[in-house]
């Protein structure tokens, strides 16, 4: 039953065999590491990519504990083409087309080939006040040597142009979700960067901005910094539910928080739904995903940076799913039992954190499709061969030794998708990235009339480190780069 009391019968849930690959290898370019944003618009699926994520991470500074680096990196970042792309898929023809590539600008480093956008992290179809019809809006990720990040607008899915941006501070580098609520479009900064370095999941400001007419620069802050708590470093995800806008934070100090508001005049009045990571503390550092399903708001929680916030000493720990009701009570659906301010909580599904997978760093995305709730995860298991694990806890080390590193990666590497018709009983759709362990995240799940699209994060291209005869070497990876899968039940046979 949904929030207005309608009962929806679930259709046939999708299984792994219902999914087929529509594109691999990053649309033929292994540098398209993430299918970072996706939306269904005017009969096509649009995917915005982020490029060279794992390479950019390495070149941004030394990373302890990872050797060799999983992908080959040039010595100069500008040896890579990091201009983010938008691709569009037409189901009727089963064809992908490149519809947009980021321009370059003269950067603060004096170069003329600085990409405006190295990633496109959020998409939404919104009809703002000046729009004649719903338009596609795309939130971008800009390097610190370029301008502040833009939001792009397209009325036809072919031509994209930036709109007036919010009054971000200079360190803001990216936003994620664009949300249409109460007659305004909303977004919040979710990544920051300067010449000293960048972090894609912590922003320099934790504020939600809103604008009723995206053709204008009339952006206004509708929340206080961190909802009044300076430990809320970022408003990471937003969604609507039960007539409210919900905002979930990154809080490395005490654990993520969830807030809600009915909107109205700016600044909105906000109410805290839970804090302290819903009683789990720092191991629910971030609210990573939000989705309404059958009268409740499903909340994905975890730790940033793939489940291990190394700089803050948080984790590793696997992700959880919580569901919140209109009266602010909440259930633990997937996760770790505990006594909380709301009493004793245990996972109603019976699954421990990460769906019993300790390598599950996030629940990255939810989607409702044909009466089922689908949850896509992120798994860092594929990083295992490159991580120095000697200092890990003994039980984790014992597990790796018992399974065998290769067997673990080959057999169980890759992100997962799970489904449920009632929010409590869950079944796996895929537990190994559709058979490609390089698909380390199900970054986007999009429900469409043609089926459920699953667009992955797969940063293991163009060349991945492989061990041969005891020696590491970089070799071209035909299964590196993001993939897009389409799930639909088989067509009924003709009578």
């Amino acid at each position: 039953m949904d929030s207005v009391g309608r009962v929806h019968a679930a259709g046939v849930g999708l299984t792994e065999s219902d999914f087929r690959l529509t594109c691999l290898n990053g649309f033929g370019d292994g540098l398209n590491h993430y299918a970072h944003s996706a939306a269904w618009f005017q009969g096509r699926l649009y995917v915005g990519t982020s490029r060279g994520n794992l390479i950019g991470l390495r070149l941004a500074g030394p990373r302890k504990g990872i050797r060799p680096w999983p992908v080959e990196c040039p010595s100069d970042l500008y040896d890579l083409d990091r201009r983010a792309q938008i691709w569009a898929y037409t189901p009727e023809t089963d064809q992908w087309a490149l519809v947009y590539r980021s321009p370059t600008v003269h950067g603060t480093n004096g170069r003329d080939d600085v990409p405006s956008y190295i990633g496109l992290r959020g998409m939404a179809v919104i009809q703002s006040a000046s729009d004649p019809h719903p338009c596609l809006y795309v939130s971008a990720w800009s390097p610190h040597t370029a301008h502040s990040p833009d939001v792009l607008r397209s009325a036809d899915g072919e031509n994209f142009a930036p709109i007036p941006r919010p009054p971000f501070g200079p360190a803001v580098r990216t936003c994620r979700t664009l949300l249409d609520f109460d007659g305004r479009a909303h977004l919040s900064p979710t990544g920051s960067g300067t010449k000293k370095g960048f972090t894609q999941d912590l922003s320099s400001e934790a504020v939600i901005y809103a604008n009723a007419d995206l053709a204008t620069a009339d952006w206004v802050p509708v929340s206080a910094e961190g909802f009044g708590n300076p430990a809320n470093a970022t408003v990471f995800e937003v969604a609507t539910f039960d007539g409210h806008m919900y905002g979930g934070t990154v809080n490395p100090l005490t654990g993520g928080e969830l807030w809600k508001s009915r909107g109205g005049d700016a600044p909105y009045q906000w109410t805290r739904v839970f804090d302290q990571g819903a009683g789990r503390g720092q191991h629910n550092e971030v609210i990573s995903a939000l989705c309404e399903f059958r009268g409740a708001l499903y909340v994905g929680c975890g730790i940033i940076n793939g489940g291990y916030h190394h700089a803050a000493g948080i984790g590793p720990a696997a992700a959880e799913i919580i569901r919140v009701w209109p009266d602010d009570s909440w259930d633990l659906v997937v996760g770790e039992s505990r006594v909380t301010a709301q009493g004793a909580k245990y996972p109603l599904s019976g699954y421990g954190a990460g769906f019993d997978n300790l390598f599950c760093g996030y629940v990255w995305r939810f989607s409702v499709h044909d009466g089922w709730l689908y949850a896509g995860t992120m798994s860092w298991l594929n990083m295992l061969p490159y991580i120095q694990v000697n200092a890990w806890p003994p039980d984790v080390r014992a597990l790796v030794d018992a399974w065998g590193e290769d067997a673990l990666v080959q057999g169980q590497g890759g992100a997962e998708i799970w489904r449920t018709a009632d929010g409590v009983n869950w079944e796996p759709v895929t537990r190994n990235g559709f058979g490609n362990h390089y698909n380390w995240g199900m970054r986007n799940l999009v429900s469409t009339p043609h089926g459920l699209f699953a667009a992955t994060a797969n940063p293991f291209g163009p060349k991945v480190a492989v061990k041969r005869a005891g020696q590491w070497e970089y070799t071209p990876n035909p299964r590196g780069g993001c993939e897009v899968w389409l799930g639909a039940p088989p067509a009924a046979p003709a009578p």
Binding site: G279, G281, S337, V339, G343, A344, Y346, W403
Partner: protein, 309 residues
């Protein structure tokens, strides 16, 4: 393929939270000639025998021991080391079997006696309990309960200074996480309650392990009536029942487990006292903050027939 199961009576599942006395109830039922009581089979953990064996190989506890010892007894009428090795090989030769078929094999092997299967791990996981519905829709369900205070004391005693304690037994609101038995107690009992709610009326009952061992205890009589059992004199001492039963005591080195570890905690059981001394409102000795039972645990305990005290 296993022999046909059509002549084998429907099994009885003994479902309980950890350390709730399922072994003592199982040992008590073992005295009835129409029943064949197994060890903890752990069959509900997987759909395929191959997956089950993989789980057993990774287990840091005694998962799989009950299945091996039960299979050894049914096949070769003993559970010494050679029989255990033979049982292991037998399972490995049937890795392509569904676990439901393995269960049917055991049922047929025990027939005409009725299989009684204790389960204290599956109640923590609804997806495991769903296999009971799928595999044996005509089974009888016996919900075995123990007051959460003695249950907690036993679990805490077992976990004390143990290197490996299942995550399901811990409270993760505390750093580091601390063992809190009321959480698995609540989780298992509420999951069993949900399963029983949808079960065929007349094929499910509730048994208090606190009282089944008492001569003339109400729970024993109700259990006999619910399962249609012959009249067998009650035993005065539960631990005598458990240790007199081959699956109530340690097995050979290859498979020493297969029963609830509380059977090894005889002195702890003796120290528990009796039901009149147990309260739902007292502070909990295993919690550093000495908090009491949560409201959810108290409400569940009352539903299961325990007074506030």
């Amino acid at each position: 393929m296993s022999p046909p199961v059509r002549n084998a009576p429907a099994p009885v599942w003994l479902l309980a939270a950890p350390f709730s006395g399922v072994t003592s109830v199982a040992a008590m039922l073992n005295r009835y000639p129409e029943l064949w009581v197994t060890g903890e089979l752990d069959l509900l953990l997987a759909d395929q025998v191959s997956d089950l064996l993989a789980i057993f190989s990774l287990s840091q506890g005694t998962q799989g021991h009950g299945l091996l010892r039960t299979l050894a007894r049914l096949q070769w009428e003993r559970d010494d080391s050679p029989a255990i090795r033979a049982a292991q090989q037998w399972l490995e030769e049937r890795q392509d079997w569904p676990c439901s078929e393995l269960l049917n094999f055991l049922r047929a092997a025990a027939a005409p006696r009725r299989l009684v299967i204790p389960e204290r791990d599956a109640p923590l996981r609804p997806h495991a309990l769903r296999r009971i519905t799928a595999w044996t829709p005509d089974a009888d369900l016996v919900h075995v309960v123990r007051h959460p205070l003695p249950q907690g004391k036993l679990l805490a005693a077992w976990a004390h200074e143990r290197l490996y304690v299942p995550v399901d037994f811990k409270d993760f609101s505390q750093q580091p996480p601390q063992v809190d038995p009321q959480l698995p107690w609540l989780r298992a009992n509420e999951n069993i309650e949900r399963l029983r709610r949808d079960w065929s009326p007349g094929h499910t009952c509730l048994v208090h392990a606190d009282t089944t061992s008492n001569s003339g205890g109400a729970s024993r009589a109700e259990l006999e009536q619910a399962l249609g059992l012959s009249d067998v004199p009650a035993s005065a001492r539960p631990e005598q029942d458990a240790s007199a039963w081959w699956l109530g005591r340690r097995g050979p080195d290859l498979a020493p487990g297969g029963y609830e570890p509380e059977a090894d905690l005889a002195s702890a059981i003796t120290a528990l006292g009796n039901v009149q001394e147990w309260s739902l409102t007292m502070s909990l000795p295993w919690r550093r903050d000495r908090a009491g039972f949560t409201p959810e645990v108290r409400a569940c305990a009352r539903r299961l027939g325990y007074d506030e005290g």
